[in-house]
Amino acid sequence: MSDLFYWQSLNRAMDAEMAADETVITLGEDVGLYGGTYRVTEGLMAKYGEWRVRDTPISENSFTGLGVGAAMLGLRPVVEIMTINFALFAIDAIINMAAKIPFMSGGQFPMPLTIRMPGGIARQLGAQHSQRLEHTLMNVPGLRIAVPATPQDAYWQLRQAIHSDDALIVLEHELLYFSKGDVNEKAVAPPIHQALLRRSGRDVTCIAYSRMVILALEAAEFLAKEGIEMTVIDLRSLAPIDWDTCVQSVQQTHHCLIVEEDCRFAGAGAELSATLQERCFYFLDRPIQRVAGLDIPTPFNGKLEAASIPRTEDIISAVRQMLGTPGGQS
């Protein structure tokens, strides 16, 4: 057990997999000599050489496609897209190649490809550097998506991703790289797609993923002082989604709040809400609510940027409102 930064645990996961399996390679812009923009690949080039840790030109579409082709020949490439914003250039390789080849080939070609990319809103990087693409990727059958919120999950899920014979996307978060947490490198991991209850409470179920889990836990702590007990579910995976864990909790609390950094309109939360109202309709006391990003390109100004995504206070007041308002006509 050690106390690691999120980036360090990803770095350890990479190292462990590369040491164990020669077919694991990694590539991306500045992953080698420079050690990775967020240090995730630090030290790997010196240890494994440049054929296994490859610095690429700025050619996202083709080096992601390179990962696809190499995976068809049995390598297990880990493609780092420097940030998710640049994945817009690689989206054909992800959607039309990685996700579809295993099926189109009648099952002949597995796709042991991992694509890592940091996303989310960091600090004043402007609208073009503040993408969140979960909705786009979720809608693609053939992709799985892991969204680790803790260093332990980052460690587990990256290793599991590399083991996967499906194309698997690991969505990291730029503001989590320097968060710290205990990492047990020997512990048995839960299945990669299993949601985890980070906190249990009887009054309301809050479902979140990635950085929003941290905010949800802060909100829960705060609400507890007011006597409101909130369950916080960390989804950990956006495809597939562990519906059972969510449904069970909502059936107990009768209230459901979804928190996401993604823009509200057609974001990841839309699917969560749509399916949970299908499955839990008769248990719900109130409509499912979403706390989500505003439907506006991210403003550069720091205060406006912060106001464009959920803050802990927003979660708190959404819960208060949900539990406080009378029940309407039903």
Binding site: A16, E17, A20, I25, W51, R52, R54, T56, P57, S59, N61, S62, F63, T64, G65, L66, G67, V68, G69, A70, A71, M72, L73, G74, L75, P77, D92, A93, N96, M97, I101, P102, F103, M104, S105, G106, G107, Q108, F109, P110, M111, P141, G142, R159, Q160, H163, S164, D165, D166, E185, K186, A187, V188, A189, P190, P191, I192, H193
Partner: protein
């Protein structure tokens, strides 16, 4: 080149033509649906290049890939069944005409999105180079495909890391209805390779022997670690872009000239501007196949009788493939789901990995 090899190449050209004509017929009869992009006219390219390939080489192709698959050794039955969407198809009826795949024959697929063949070839070649194997990756693409960004990105990386790829441009002068001088600033495609320092050559794609010789030399270089090589093969498709295309944008005289393998085609073309109607596509005259037949006879490798026998043989093979395809079962939804979940091993993803 010995007699047997010549005979084999001619046989494959005839098979290719017969296969595609049967596919066209199947489409006309409504047995085959979807887009169908046929290869008649371009046979010397696939046959010349792939007869120079070793079993250890990999092939990446486009939506116009039936003939590449056939010459690579995928049974006609399995290709035809795939065109019919049957479970006996090489991709189990899930891929279709534009998505033939055969892992055992290192046929890495037909890709329907123009420009995808480049990164796939790049990745395959990266894996080969990493393993230090003497294998080549053959990457087919059209003249229209070279304007896609992936062409440029992939050629740069291939050259930078000296990856074992033979880039093969099937220059048939058209991107659907847009002629090359209207889609490319430089119409001699092989000159594009100079921006990456990749050795490149233009060869007559209607002459199977020339194609074969150039491909063999280039593949040897590729396998021996010299890095990527580039071949531009000038050729022509006799039919429209796909079965949905009457090809009315092409002058009659241009088609006829190529069909006669006429060296003055280009000159005539410059002088011609009328765009004739679809019936211009009628019966095929002398072409790369007839040309090669004549050559084989003249050199004394084959005689007319043997060629007739070959034609009958390949026709029988193709007829059999059509029968096989028609009689095969369709996949059901259960098949689709099991193909989809084939590689998804959820249990693995629970393991610890200490």
């Amino acid at each position: 080149m010995d007699r047997l090899q010549m005979r084999a190449m001619l046989r494959d050209m005839l098979r290719a033509r017969a296969f595609e004509e049967a596919a066209a017929q199947g489409y006309a009869q409504g047995q085959i649906a979807g887009f169908l992009h046929l290869y008649p006219g371009e046979e010397a390219v696939a046959v010349g290049v792939l007869h120079a390939a070793e079993p250890g080489d990999y092939v990446v192709s486009t939506y116009r890939e039936h003939v590449h698959a056939l010459v690579r050794g995928i049974p006609a039955q399995e290709i035809m069944a795939e065109l019919h969407g049957k479970i006996t198809g090489v991709s189990k009826g899930m891929g279709g005409s534009m998505h033939l795949f055969d892992a055992s024959r290192r046929f890495l697929g037909g890709y329907a999105i123009v420009g995808e063949t480049f990164p796939i070839a790049l990745g395959a070649a990266y894996a080969v180079a990493y393993r230090r194997l003497p294998e080549a990756v053959i990457c087919f693409f059209g003249d229209g495909a070279v304007n896609q960004g992936t062409f440029h990105e992939s050629l740069n990386m291939a050259a930078l890391w000296k990856l074992p790829i033979l880039f093969v441009c099937e220059n048939n002068h058209y991107q659907i209805g847009t002629e090359i001088h209207r889609h490319s600033a430089i119409t001699e495609v092989y000159k594009r390779a100079c921006g990456y320092g990749i050795p490149a050559e233009k060869v007559d794609g209607m002459d199977v022997l020339a194609v074969h010789a150039a491909a063999r030399k280039a593949l040897e270089r590729v396998r021996s670690g010299d890095g990527p090589q580039f071949l531009e093969l000038e050729t022509y498709r006799y039919r429209g872009h796909s079965m949905a295309d009457p090809a009315s944008y092409r002058p009659n005289v241009e088609l006829n000239a190529y069909q006669a393998n006429d060296p003055i085609a280009a000159a005539i073309h410059e002088a011609e501007s009328a765009y004739p109607s679809a019936d211009a596509m009628a019966a095929v005259g002398a072409d790369c196949i007839s040309h090669f037949c004549d050559h084989c006879c003249q050199e004394g490798h084959l005689d007319k009788a043997e060629i007739t026998r070959l034609r009958q043989e390949v026709q029988a093979e193709v007829d059999d493939a059509v029968r096989f395809a028609q009689q095969s079962a369709e996949p059901d939804m259960q098949d689709a789901w099991s193909v989809f979940h084939h590689n998804r091993r959820y249990e693995v993803l629970m393991e610890t990995a200490p």
